[in-house]
Amino acid sequence: MTPTASDAPADFEVALVSLNQWQLAWRRFRRHKLAMFGAGLFLTFVAIAAFGPFILPYEATNVPYPLKFCPGTTISANLGCPPFNDGHILGTVGGTQEDLLTLVVNGARLSLTIGIGAAAFASVLGAIVGGISGYFGGWVDTILMRIVDVLLSMPLLFVIIVFAKVFGYGDWRVILLVFALLGWPGIARLVRSLFLTLRTEVFVDAARAVGVSDLRIIFRHILPNAMSPIIVVTTLSVAAFIVTEAFVSYIGYGVNAAYNPTWGNILSNAQNDILVGNWWWPLFPGLAIVLTVLGINFMGDGLRDALDPRSRE
């Protein structure tokens, strides 16, 4: 090509930055105010869970000098003391007299670990099984989908009790495992349907026509295009698992509060003392759950919008 005057704009064009789909999605996400707020909220709690326990002066389960009365009052400290007394910003809980802030901060660790861990586990397993099922089809698909049907029909509490019986009560790892086990089938169904659609795309045919292997087609062509819905569902299931953990712990089948506080079991222990008027005890762990879940859901909605290729600016 000989350089002519008409080539000049084209040369100028080269300086433009070429953004791929992920970069475009990130740009859209950044402009989504509610999503950025949600992400900030969620990341704040993640930071609290990660660093909080190192900063706080108290140990979670160790109160060296139990008080008789709450400071400056004649209320029995055994029932728990209200916020802002003697350095206990969120107050103390009844019975053990532990610092509520310390409990909530330490509880964030397990609640988030279970939520994020179970969601990640479920997504990876669901993506693998759903991907195989959708890509290869046939009898492989039939068998895997029947397993999915069976697991989806299992009641959560029943499975938790059975697992607890086998692996030990109150172990957070058992709870995480059960959540992942019952969570992946839903994601597998989603991924399967995505793969069923994507494997008939023309670019998949084109890849096959030039001799690309099945494995590479799955990982380089189909999976990247299925990623957006998977990311959204994974995000939203983190919130769902946090709530489920709280529920399971609240009714007493969850993580053992004596060793490992979670937002759920702090709430569970609070239930008898609500009547005494210890409003702070259920309020703060409850608030932590609500804010985290809200943050994740805002973030998930933002991701859904940002990752949708049809949304153009």
């Binding site: 045919d205 084109a206 890849a207 026509a209 030039v210 690309v212 380089r220 295009n225 290729p309």
Partner: protein, 374 residues
């Protein structure tokens, strides 16, 4: 007659009788799609998309395949390329049985036969840069001899082919959404040609493009054919494009080849009643020309339940003229040779004359006549 001229006469005679070297040949190729139904999802029938198609495509030629939507022409191309599993028959490329290949041998064969798709949007992965889209085949086909596994060699070749299709080398870092339909189609062509194929299936490569872009892409395909010694199977439904672009043409109807002839022969003297009707539908870009279209009755029958005998007999204008001979609905007409290299699958192909066509058109109630402006 000198030696040279007699040799020339011989070769042209040989060309006329089909003795040119054959690159790709299909023999009774079949592709049936199962229809699943019932409570237990068992097979309740078949769609006869491609049924007993035998074709020879000569080295270096552009073979056009035309027919209505749903007649199986795309499926035929896909079955040759092993993108669909053939139900029966055989495909041979340079004498090698394509359908029997698997594993590495199939992969090596894919290097020799490539495809250009209709949809320039769907055929490029939106998540991949152009360098990966074109280079992927090279990576998959890379070995010690060609060195395509090495990024630098691959990128060099990707750039070369981008230039060959009229794009800039540095476009390779961009993503598909940054290109127009015509540019995307060029990228699709570069991807197909980067492997250095001999045979390329062009599956309606211009149908999805803007009319102003169509001719650019056709000229490009034509130049590339000369440059890289390609043989094309050109699948299309636009008859004007085919006439311009192809040397020989096969007409398909309901999964069968009904006529094969050199382009000028087919357009001048079509011998199958269906081809006659199809060709009469070409619009003439001149309002002063009175055209008489031979309009076929009814719709194309379902390929899941094709008519007996000749598949065209339910809509055939010639059969009507001849007083509905029983043969048409009972015996399937073989694809037989009428003159040098001109094949047609009709029991009464000899009855298709210009006069018969005119008379048939005249008796039709629907006759399209343009307003005479003069």
């Amino acid at each position: 007659m000198t030696d040279a001229s007699s040799r020339l006469a011989e070769t042209s005679a040989a060309a006329a009788t089909g003795a040119r070297p054959v690159l790709l040949e299909t023999l009774n190729l079949k592709k049936y799609f199962p229809i699943m139904g019932g409570l237990l999802r068992h097979q309740v029938g078949s769609v006869y998309a491609v049924d007993d198609v035998s074709l020879q495509i000569y080295k270096g030629e552009t073979f056009g395949l035309v027919g209505e939507s749903g007649c199986g022409k795309t499926t035929f191309g896909r079955t040759i390329l092993r993108l669909e599993k053939a139900t029966g028959g055989s495909v041979s490329m340079d004498g090698q049985d394509v359908l029997a290949l698997h594993g590495d041998a199939l992969k090596r064969m894919r290097r020799r036969m490539q495809v250009i798709f209709q949809d320039p949007y769907g055929s490029l992965n939106p998540r991949m840069p152009i360098s990966d889209i074109i280079g992927e085949g090279l990576l998959a086909q890379g070995d010690k001899a060609n060195g395509w596994r090495k990024r630098s060699i691959r990128d060099q070749r990707v750039g070369d082919y981008l230039e060959a299709v009229g794009l800039r080398r540095d476009y390779s870092r961009r993503y598909p959404h940054e290109f127009s339909g015509g540019q995307r189609q060029r990228i699709g062509i570069a991807r197909a040609l980067a492997l250095g194929p001999e045979f390329v299936v062009c599956d309606e490569p211009v149908s999805a493009l803007d009319v102003s872009i169509q001719s650019q892409i056709l000229n490009l395909l034509s130049d590339l054919r000369a440059e890289f010694n390609l043989t094309y199977l050109f699948i299309a439904h636009n008859l004007s494009v085919v006439q311009y672009f192809c040397e020989r043409i096969g007409v398909m109807y309901l999964g069968k080849i009904v006529e094969v002839a050199a382009t000028d022969v087919l357009y001048a003297t079509p011998q199958h009643p269906y081809s006659v009707a199809l060709l009469s539908a070409i619009p003439v870009p001149d309002p002063r020309v009175r055209t008489k279209r031979l309009v076929l009755k009814g719709d194309v029958p379902s390929p899941a339940n094709p008519p007996s005998g000749c598949r065209f007999h339910t809509r055939c204008w010639l059969r009507e003229r001849l007083g509905n001979p029983a043969e048409c609905s009972t015996t399937e007409p073989p694809l037989r040779e009428l003159a040098g290299g001109h094949l047609a699958a009709c029991h009464f192909a000899e009855q298709v004359t210009a006069q018969a066509v005119q008379e048939a058109a005249a008796t039709q109630s629907v006759i399209e006549t343009a307003v005479d402006v003069d």
